[in-house]
């Protein structure tokens, strides 16, 4: 009997360990996630824009960060900057060109852990028909069960900068900034 209990304990420990070592798959929860950007306007202020329609999947294991996976797809037509005429311009052929490029995407390729809560994700951003590497600084805010819906969830904050000219978006360079700062807040729910 003692032998049997010991066996059960060992098997349980092994199973727990195996589970902890496997990445969990999450889907981005769009109701609690935000993808924003800021861009300098004539040196005076930074215009804020956001995309309201996006989706994505994350595969994350805190104990094996390099094995993580990430892909996000953003509908460019969901762009908003709180000024309709500007939105019209930005969605047009000179900027995001939503007719020819209805989606932009980010696929993580290199995940680096700095400490228990921070790291970097380098991935391929496809924007305007051009694919270039972009690195995001990421903070892992919380991984655990959501107390309201009891679903395992993970929350991340990411920041990064890209040059729009790298993606062939050179309209009004000089007057309108080249650097685009990204502000990304993601809450993702574990897939059942």
């Amino acid at each position: 009997m003692r032998l049997t209990l010991a066996s059960v304990s060992m098997i349980t420990a092994l199973l727990t360990s195996a589970t902890a070592g496997r990445a969990a798959d999450y889907a981005i929860d769009p109701t609690h996630s935000h993808i924003l950007f800021t861009i300098e306007h004539l040196g005076f202020a930074k215009i804020v824009g956001l995309f309201t329609d996006f989706n994505g999947n994350i595969s994350f294991d805190a104990n094996n960060v390099p094995g993580s996976k990430l892909n996000v797809t953003i509908k460019t037509d969901s762009l908003q900057t709180q000024f309709a005429p500007r939105d019209k311009d930005l969605k047009g052929a000179d900027w995001f060109n939503v007719t020819e490029f209805p989606e932009m995407s980010f696929v993580g390729t290199d995940f680096v852990k700095k400490d228990d809560h921070t790291g970097t994700i380098t991935g391929k951003l496809t924007l305007h028909g051009v694919t270039k590497p972009v690195t995001l600084n990421v903070v892992v805010n919380k991984v655990g069960q959501n107390p309201l819906d009891k679903i395992d969830s993970a929350g991340f904050s990411a920041r990064g900068t890209l040059k729009r000219s790298d993606f062939g978006m050179k309209t009004y360079l000089g007057a309108i900034g080249d650097d685009i700062d990204l502000i990304i807040e993601i809450e993702a729910k574990k897939k059942s």
Binding site: A93, D94, N97, T99, E100, H128, K170, T171, G174
Partner: protein, 286 residues
């Protein structure tokens, strides 16, 4: 004032027009002088988009450059050859169709009645514009045509399209139009001082083709254009001729004086375009 990128681009284009068109006058004949016009358009494109786009171009705005370049080269070749009238008319009909097809290609997978009608309108409208520009280019100066009228018509078309583009979600097209108009104004100035008949097929198809590519991009890709205001552009190539027949008896107004007056009359529909835009989009222009 020079901090305004539109004014700066227009100034550079004007100076470029003065220099190139002036230098072209050293060469006898009109072929080289005519080629200066599409060069100005291409330079205006580079000033506006701050790049020579990669080839093959990705996206409609990048295609504009190569459409203007290819059309200018074909036009230049036609200028070098004798007896090309039929080829020019054929090109005036085919080129707008090719431009609509290439620019609008990403949308044609989901062809509906509205898109079909728009594409058809752009093709036929483009053909009417190029056909008329070619007629102006090949008509003798004494009969209202010639380089000054042709250049004035192109300038008027761009000045009229600029506000249509702005309200159609393309402030960049406005900048490109303004830069090109400034450069073309420099050519027109040279034509007044030292006429060379600088309005051959390279000008008709290079600048005309570039303009059509811009119009098709804003209409088919940005998709916010006011089609009523856009349709009024078709009046511009005819306004000068009709106005001249009504107001200026050939016996009293001859030669370059007549060309300048006809060119000025060609600009009148711009006011109509602006009036229509004001009436239909008061909130955008207030």
């Amino acid at each position: 004032m020079l901090e305004n990128p539109i004014i700066l681009a227009a100034l550079i284009s004007f100076v470029l027009g003065l220099v190139l068109s002036g230098l072209a006058r050293v060469v006898p004949g009109s072929t080289i002088a005519s080629a200066v016009l599409p060069i100005i358009f291409l330079a205006s494109y580079v000033l506006t988009y701050q790049q020579v786009p990669d080839f093959p171009p990705i996206g409609a705005t990048n295609k504009i450059f190569y459409i203007a370049l290819a059309a200018a080269l074909v036009g230049f070749a036609l200028d070098l050859l004798p007896r090309t009238a039929n080829y020019r008319k054929l090109l005036a009909a085919i080129m707008p169709l090719l431009i609509v097809g290439w620019i609008g290609f990403p949308r044609f997978a989901k062809l509906d009645i509205e898109l079909t009608a728009t594409a058809l309108g752009l093709w036929l409208g483009g053909t009417a514009l190029l056909w008329r520009l070619d007629t102006v280019a090949t008509t003798s100066a004494e009969r209202n045509g010639g380089s000054i009228v042709g250049t004035a018509v192109l300038m008027a078309l761009m000045l009229a399209f600029a506000p249509v583009a702005l309200l159609g979600g393309s402030s960049t097209s406005l900048m490109l139009c303004m830069a090109a108009v400034a450069g073309l104004a420099a050519v027109a100035l040279w034509e007044l001082i030292l006429p060379r008949g600088a309005f051959g097929a390279s000008a008709v198809f290079g600048v005309g083709g570039g303009l059509l590519a811009m119009i098709d991009t804003v209409t088919l890709i940005t998709r916010q254009v006011d089609l009523s205001a856009l349709a009024l552009l078709l009046l511009i190539p005819y306004a000068g001729e009709i106005g001249a027949r009504l107001l200026m008896p050939p016996k009293r107004f001859r030669g370059r004086v007549r060309q300048v007056l006809v060119g000025t009359l060609a600009a009148l529909p711009i006011l109509l375009v602006i009036a229509v835009l004001f009436l239909r989009h008061p909130e955008s222009l207030s």
